[in-house]
Symmetry: C2
Subunit: 347 residues, 2 copies
């Protein structure tokens, strides 16, 4: 495990070992390790649990920093909040930390459904839960949220997919393919058999800049909104913030996550029929879109929302576009808290 994925940066977190875990695509992870962190106390009745899985290239640390706090919607004085690292992110089992021979380029292909099945085992077997008050997540976390609500409808009382979709659109798949290709086209990547992840820095930098074209808004660049984070020029921001985020990460991990993202489709639970799959949701669902999102456009999100029974479409606006989910601006934090508090107050 590279030093980036350590407890100093991303902890504290716990590991739950699920033993051998059979994947939807046929592979097996011999000792699936799910890394998670909890906040608050589980009530005696077990009726205050919230689950929040990670997004692409993120760990539970950013979720903690951006969403959890006293007085906020995710208030640890009130709720038992379980943050869980998705498979492949480097804290949970991933190409970078899995033992040979199933390491690096041989880590098996994982689906969003695999994550949700593993998380279901965590919350039932380890925490003894029978219901979650809320499942929420942003981006790939939204994919997992939809999957939860479709796959375990009775288990999910409320759902809040944020800035993400139940099925990756063709355009979204194409964008993600360009992210993957930015890395794999680096000679040093060597089909995933590099010795040092840092050797693929050209590909990781290229990947970071592609991400930056779609994940932020044109207005962020026009108005130099990155100055709020202390950067001095567009180049300074792209290098310091965006490349800085991706450079220390493992290329195989990112590609595994990206392939999982591309394959995201709750319709797999209903023979490919997304309408049928979403019709199974009984959770009170707020579908939350960021109006300026270049990765998950409002039109795609709104189209799926109409397929979720009784759901509501909620809008947020941010100069950060998709990356608003990082909680970089206070107005997003206030806006998402208002929506989530409203949702948590529903019967």
């Amino acid at each position: 495990m590279g030093s980036y994925y350590d407890r100093e940066r991303h902890g504290p977190f716990e590991i739950h070992d699920l033993g051998p875990f059979l994947l939807e695509n046929g592979g097996t992870i011999r000792n699936l390790q799910l890394a998670y962190a909890t906040f608050g106390e589980l009530s005696a009745a077990g009726d205050n649990a919230i689950l929040f899985p990670t997004w692409y290239s993120g760990t539970t640390k950013i979720l903690e920093q951006a969403y959890i706090g006293p007085g906020r919607a995710l208030d640890p004085d009130r709720y038992f909040i379980i943050l869980v690292n998705q498979i492949g992110n480097g804290l949970s089992s991933a190409p970078s930390n899995n033992p040979a021979p199933f390491n690096a380029a041989r880590f098996p292909l994982v689906s969003i459904g695999d994550d949700v099945r593993a998380q279901h085992r965590l919350v039932t077997e380890h925490f003894g839960l029978t219901r979650l008050q809320l499942v929420l997540g942003g981006s790939m976390g939204a994919q997992q949220t939809y999957e939860w609500a479709v796959r375990y409808p009775e288990f999910v009382r409320r759902a809040a997919p944020i800035a993400g979709t139940a099925r990756a659109s063709a355009h979204n798949q194409l964008l993600v393919e360009s992210f993957i290709e930015a890395i794999t086209s680096d000679r040093a990547y060597d089909n995933g058999w590099y010795d040092n992840a840092g050797d693929i820095h050209r590909g990781l930098r290229r990947h970071a800049r592609l991400f930056a074209t779609a994940a932020f808004t044109p207005r962020l660049y026009a108005e130099e909104g990155w100055r709020d984070l202390g950067f001095s020029s567009t180049e300074d921001f792209l290098t310091g913030f965006v490349e800085g985020h991706f450079l220390p990460q493992d290329p195989n991990n990112l590609i595994l996550l990206a392939r999982k993202w591309q394959g995201g489709d709750v319709g797999r639970n209903s023979g490919g029929d997304i309408k049928k799959a979403l019709s199974h949701i009984i959770a009170t669902t707020y579908v939350i879109a960021i109006d300026e999102d270049g990765l998950f456009p409002l039109s795609d999100i709104a189209a799926e929302q109409t397929l979720v029974p009784g759901s509501q479409l909620k809008h947020l606006s941010s100069i950060w576009g998709h990356l608003a989910i990082f909680g970089l601006d206070q107005s997003y934090r206030d806006g998402i808290d208002t929506i989530l508090k409203d949702l948590l107050a529903t019967a």
Copy 2:
């Protein structure tokens, strides 16, 4: 000159040799060849001329096919229409056709201002014009249109920049940099010293797919709008249409155009002050935006339009997004004709 850039595909066209041409960035093109095509007859009074320069990766052929025809706004029975190939596009002087030693990677850096100064010489010296009834262009053609209206205000009676900006935004520059890098990261590119342009097909294909993420709309993919062009799957479309468009083109030509695009800024005419530069425009100007444009977002276009005295912002909508300018759908062709006819009818 590669076979792609021949008269069979792109003709008929004429060549005007401007002799030695000093560029804004200090270089010189020894015998600048401007390739152009005309339609209709110049009136005796010389008062029916329209100028229409090309966009990125395009030639005058697509302008002819998409915009000119009897009964259309650009009616050759009524107007003398000059279509001109921008410097570097492969019909006009370009890395692919310029004699050594100023060929390939040594072709000098060209600016939008250079194109417009060269076009001004073409229409004054060669055609003897003193005024243009209309200058219009899409994308990089819009950059040239703005440059014309700023640099030669008395010369341009009407202007119609379509789906483009007077100054490349930081986000736009970043997107274009990703296009460039898609090509230059191909080992076969060899800093521009390849023997055969076709050897860079990996980079050209990568470039094409990046272009396809931004230049088309998510809705095009979601609704499979590409079926209207006879393609059978997203892959079939991406390969057959998008890769097919870029693959036969010269990598150095594309990169020269892309660098020119990135540097587009009418503010260069006013010491960097775009507001001051645009305030010089006296042409009756319709600024035309495609609402769904992912390359030149409506917000960027609208912000500049407010700086052009007396201008109007006109909207078009197309599932094709930026690529609507290719005239692929009839509703765009009808819409643009209505706007241009309205503009041409102004006093």
